[in-house]
């Protein structure tokens, strides 16, 4: 078993193209200008001792261990803060510097616990550095003033501080701290939260969270960057304290959001000791958030179901059965249903949580095995409009950049996205760029954190009324065209000129002027104008957007409006610009790429295309249906009408995540065989007849594709707890249905994907092993993938401008439902919460709250923390209120992480015109004081409890 060790170069890389050559310890070294001597030395294989430096934060020069001598220069400069220069002659090991280092370490060690547990475990650099510099004795002893002893000679030690154990995942023990400030700098530079500081001076100086608060009560977001940076045992993962140091590790990919961070899973046997972000991970560059680093405990949670289960009726208790029995039952039921109700009476849902290989197999099962195209995925409810909108305008359905691109952006326009909560690691990278001076425009009904947060302030915030994105985006275009800010050379060369002219005429119409749009959106015309000017003229301008754009009745129109803006200003096809959807789930990009939609085969090729079908027909040996299949919502409609009777749902909780819960429940209840394949008895499983236990990302090999089209490896670190990895379970089901599938490893599935999908033609596990990751398209033209798309031309040839008329949603406020509800996420919880609710992350967010403006709250007699009833035309629920001015008057906001809240009981069935993506972001509601749960919540809880009963059968053998 091996351990993935990464080199720490001590200071960050220099970006300079110019190189300089110097001599270090007699070796000639050539490095980019601006590199530190410490880094140059490490690049030459020479390790200079250090405590206060690492290569993720700027050098600080506080520990003085890295002193060196330079010929012709006085003194002993710190190698971390001294840049290289042509012809320098550096010595890192002279007797003089060695003596100084020993003296420094001796002082450090005189105030470091002799019995430091971290030193003993090998998790503390102090012991290693003492050894490196050859420290033999501590002449000062530990008797004098120190931070180590709680009491001395019967008197309390005023310098001693108790360990802070408030954070569930890490401990802070001040007695081991050397105040090197690496944690403070990591919090500032890497995470960008500024939660930590050094308070006091000299011997009194201390690391302090917030205003000298426990970590948990401070503004700390528990990303763990400080723990990772700490060279001593002062900040340590509690899991390491409990389990001891890891023995082996491998690189894998986080299974939470669409940023797709790379982690080293550090293990002891089959137990995860800690997850450490991987510096070579190109999405996260060594950073992480609280979910990825710490919230993996769900993988071994007692609620996990480990055996297949069956029941005849959804009111029966579950009965544990063997895999063989469960699969035979599903196969028999599905074939019966097809015989009785027709071939189109069953379908499947692929999971954006599962790997590409697994997703590919589920759609293959549907198309090859079920003989129809009734396959869909949860991208239906999040980014399907991105697919439609970008395909129409650019020719393919994906973000245009890599995350590194943000480092070259001069203007960032953030629309309907809240990355500090939903895509935290990307948010940190964005904040870093904003602190360097890039300008920010925020278009969002809520005053999200990025509007004003330490050292970041948006140039413009356009707090539009929910549902008016298209109007505002088209008004931005109006300003750009009417004020002559169009990049005409770009448009003439790269886009369809006729379509541009038609579009320009359209956006100039008076109803699209900022003044007219102010009336519907509530955004002052001048702000719209100023934002448009900044976007068009501020240098490299990049658009990042989220579900606040897509989850509307005009979601696809808004995506096209965004694409129009980027084309009109020439902000496409180079680093620092582009159109970047921030994808929700870890593999939602991949699930879409893998042909999870009912109208297209992998690689976004329409099912009606005969040549594409022929590729699959040849290797699958069946005739494929040329007609598009049903979308999730259509499947439910068809179920209610009686023509759809069976479904295989892998890793998605549609009852909780899809709109209008009652309708979903009604649809599921009308089916005869609902198969749920998941880790837990989720809410959908309340309506299931068969439950197949799923596997976590730790239990399988595969790949995820993140929001930047990056194909990252997922590596197995433990055996599947329920016997089969999800791809194996699907394969067994296919076999039970009579298909001859014989994949022995997910790499063979990827080989089939590569052989059949032009944009993946060059992808293989060997390539990923070599390169770490690649971004599709990856083929002959781009053997190592494509970081930036549409460089020399659009995928569709010429970019296409599309008219984006604003059509107000039919979900309107009125006297009965005067407020607009919009929904979102918070940092510590994830989507339906199935995972994060089963971790200590609940200490930050134990329940969903309804954010309401003080004005609206006061009008209704609602105080902070009160129970309130939230009612819409679709239904009602109760939750507790949070009175805040983050939301504008007239707007309320909630998250949907907890099933008891049932926020989707309230959301309606209004949906995007093109893709049926539900309009989660706009629901007309009323809020009133309440005493407790609604009847529906009570009934639902009772039903959920009943339907989760399991009868543990004696083993059959």
């Amino acid at each position: 078993m091996c351990f993935v060790n990464e080199i720490d170069y001590g200071t960050p890389a220099s970006r300079s193209d110019k190189t300089v050559t110097l001599t270090i310890d007699g070796k000639d070294v050539t490095v980019p200008e601006g590199t530190s001597i410490m880094r140059a030395a490490r690049m030459a294989g020479i390790e200079v001792p250090k405590l206060c430096a690492n290569d993720m934060v700027k050098a600080f020069g506080s520990c003085r261990l890295c002193l060196v001598e330079i010929e012709g220069r006085a003194g002993t400069p710190a190698s971390c803060t001294t840049p290289v220069a042509e012809g320098l002659k550096v010595s890192t090991q002279t007797e003089r510097v060695q003596a100084i280092r020993r003296g420094i370490m001796e002082l450090y060690m005189s105030d470091h616990p002799e019995d430091c547990p971290a030193c003993a475990a090998g998790d503390c650099e102090m012991a290693r550095m003492a050894e490196t510099v050859g420290l033999k004795e501590i002449r000062y002893g530990r008797e004098g003033e120190n931070h180590i002893w709680p009491a001395h000679d019967g008197a309390a030690n005023p310098h001693f501080l108790e360990p802070d154990l408030s954070n569930p995942y890490f401990a802070y023990d001040p007695s081991q701290c050397i105040v090197c400030s690496l944690c403070v700098r990591a919090c500032e530079e890497v995470q960008g939260t500024f939660a930590l500081t050094v308070e006091g001076r000299g011997f009194e100086s201390r690391i302090s969270a917030g205003m000298n608060e426990p970590f948990l009560e401070s503004e700390c977001v528990s990303c763990g960057a400080c723990v990772q940076a700490c060279p001593t045992g002062a900040l340590r993962e509690k899991s390491v304290i409990e389990l001891g140091m890891p023995e082996w590790s491998t690189v894998t990919t986080c299974a939470y959001c669409g940023v797709g961070c790379s982690f080293k899973a550090e293990m002891k046997g089959e137990q995860v000791v800690r997850m450490v972000p991987y510096k070579e991970g190109k999405a996260n560059r060594g950073h992480s958030c609280v979910k990825g680093r710490f919230a993996y405990g769900y993988a071994t949670h007692k609620d996990r179901i480990l055996n297949p289960m069956i029941r005849e009726k959804i009111t029966d208790p579950w009965r544990e059965v063997t895999w063989e029995e469960a699969l035979a039952h599903v196969a028999k039921e599905f074939r019966r249903i097809q015989y009785q109700y027709g071939r189109g009476a069953i379908g499947g849902i692929t999971s954006s949580r599962c790997t590409n290989e697994e997703t590919y197999l589920v759609q293959k099962l549907v198309r090859q095995g079920f003989g129809n195209n009734n396959v869909d995925t949860c991208a239906r409810v999040c980014h399907s409009p991105t697919g439609y909108g970008l395909k129409t305008t650019f020719g393919t359905s994906a973000g245009t950049q890599d995350f590194d691109s943000v480092e070259h952006a001069d203007v960032v326009m953030l629309i309907g996205a809240n990355p500090t909560d939903a895509h935290p690691v990307f948010a940190s990278r964005m904040k870093k760029r904003l602190r360097e001076g890039a300008k920010l425009i925020v278009i969002d009904p809520r005053r999200i954190d990025l509007v004003r947060t330490p050292h970041v302030e948006a140039a413009y915030h356009l707090p539009l009324r929910p549902g008016t994105n298209v109007a505002v985006l088209t008004a931005l275009a109006h300003v750009i065209v009417s004020e002559g800010l169009v990049d005409e050379a770009f448009v003439r060369e790269r886009c369809e000129w006729d379509a541009f002219e038609d579009w320009a005429e359209f956006v100039l119409q008076p109803e699209n002027s900022p003044e007219a749009v102010e009336k519907v959106s509530g955004v002052p015309a001048e702000t719209i104008r100023a934002a448009a000017r900044l976007y068009a003229t501020g240098g490299n301008a990049a658009i990042y957007y989220g579900l606040g754009v897509t989850e509307h009745s005009q979601g696809s129109t808004a995506v096209m409006a965004i694409a129009n803006l980027a084309m009109a200003t020439g902000n496409i096809g180079r680093p620092g610009v582009g159109v970047n959807p921030l994808r929700g789930q870890n593999n939602v990009q991949g699930s879409c790429d893998m042909g999870s939609f009912p109208h297209e085969l992998p690689g976004y090729r329409h099912i009606s295309d005969e040549a594409t079908r022929a590729i699959y027909e040849k290797i699958w040996g069946v005739k494929l249906d040329e007609e598009p299949g049903l979308r999730i919502n259509n499947m439910l409609d068809a179920a209610v009408e009686g023509s759809f009777k069976g479904i295989y749902i892998q890793g998605e909780d549609i009852l909780q995540s899809d709109p209008n819960t009652r309708h979903v429940a009604e649809g599921l209840a009308a089916m005869e065989c609902v198969v749920v394949h998941d880790l837990f008895l989720n809410e959908t499983a309340n309506y299931a007849h068969v439950f197949l236990p799923g596997s976590t990302f730790l239990e399988k090999d595969g790949t995820f594709i993140n929001a930047e089209r990056r194909i990252n490896r997922v590596r197995k670190v433990m055996e599947p707890k329920s016997r089969y990895a999800d791809w194996e379970a699907t394969q067994e089901l296919a076999r039970a249905l009579g298909l001859n599938w014989n994949y022995k490893h997910p790499s063979e599935i990827m080989d089939e994907i590569a052989a059949t999908t032009p944009t993946f033609a060059g992808v293989s596990y060997d390539l990923l092993e070599r390169e770490g990751s690649v971004q599709w398209p990856c083929n002959e033209k781009a053997p190592l993938g494509t970081p930036v798309m549409h460089v020399d031309g659009f995928v569709r040839g010429k970019g296409k401008f599309v008219r984006t008329a604003y059509v107000a949603t039919d979900e309107k406020t009125g006297p009965r439902f005067p407020l607009l509800l919009t929904t979102g996420r918070i940092l510590t919880q994830y989507n339906v919460g199935a995972q994060t609710r089963r971790t200590d992350n609940v200490v930050w967010h134990a329940e969903d709250r309804l954010e309401i403006h003080p004005f609206d709250a006061e009008n209704r007699g609602i105080r902070d923390g009160d129970w309130v009833k939230l009612a819409s035309r679709a239904g009602e629920t109760t939750l507790r209120a949070k009175v805040t001015n983050r939301v504008a008057p007239g707007v309320v906001y909630t998250t949907f992480h907890h099933p008891d809240t049932q926020a989707n009981v309230v959301t309606t069935e209004y949906a995007d015109w093109a893709t049926s993506c539900p309009e989660y972001k706009v629901t007309a509601v009323q809020v009133s004081p309440s005493n407790g749960p609604t009847e529906w919540q009570r009934d639902y809880r009772e039903h959920a409890q009943k339907s989760r009963r399991v009868v543990h059968a004696e083993p059959a053998e």
Binding site: G342, R343, G344, N373, N374, D502, F506, S553, Q554, S556, T557, P598, H599, H606, S608, E627, P628, G629, L630, N634, D637, A638, V640, E641, S643, N660, R662, H663, R803, A805, V807, D810, E811, A871, R873, A874, G875, E876, T908, E909, Y910, W913, A914, T915, S916
Partner: protein
């Protein structure tokens, strides 16, 4: 709660969806709009949905926008249900 907006019958939903599609294309040139609506429905509507749409159209198309009715000539009629 009563069944109000948002909870429509299957036919009402289809009419609503078809009209929504038409609303997007309405601002375009007529020919482009007609083609746009038909192409969208051909590409994304499962045969069961198109069959229902034609049932509505064949009964006079009550509730459908004129653009949808105009596009109907270009929408593929699904083959008869197969077993």
């Amino acid at each position: 709660m009563s069944h109000e907006a948002g909870v429509k019958t299957g036919k009402e939903k289809l009419i609503y969806m078809a009209n929504q599609i038409a609303s997007f294309f309405e601002t375009m040139k007529r020919e482009e709009a007609v083609e746009g609506v038909a192409d969208h429905i051909n590409k994304f509507w499962e045969p069961r949905m198109r069959r229902q749409l034609f049932e509505i159209i064949d009964r006079g198309g009550d509730g459908l926008k004129p653009l949808v009715l105009e596009a109907a000539a270009h929408i593929k009629r699904p083959q008869e249900a197969r077993a």
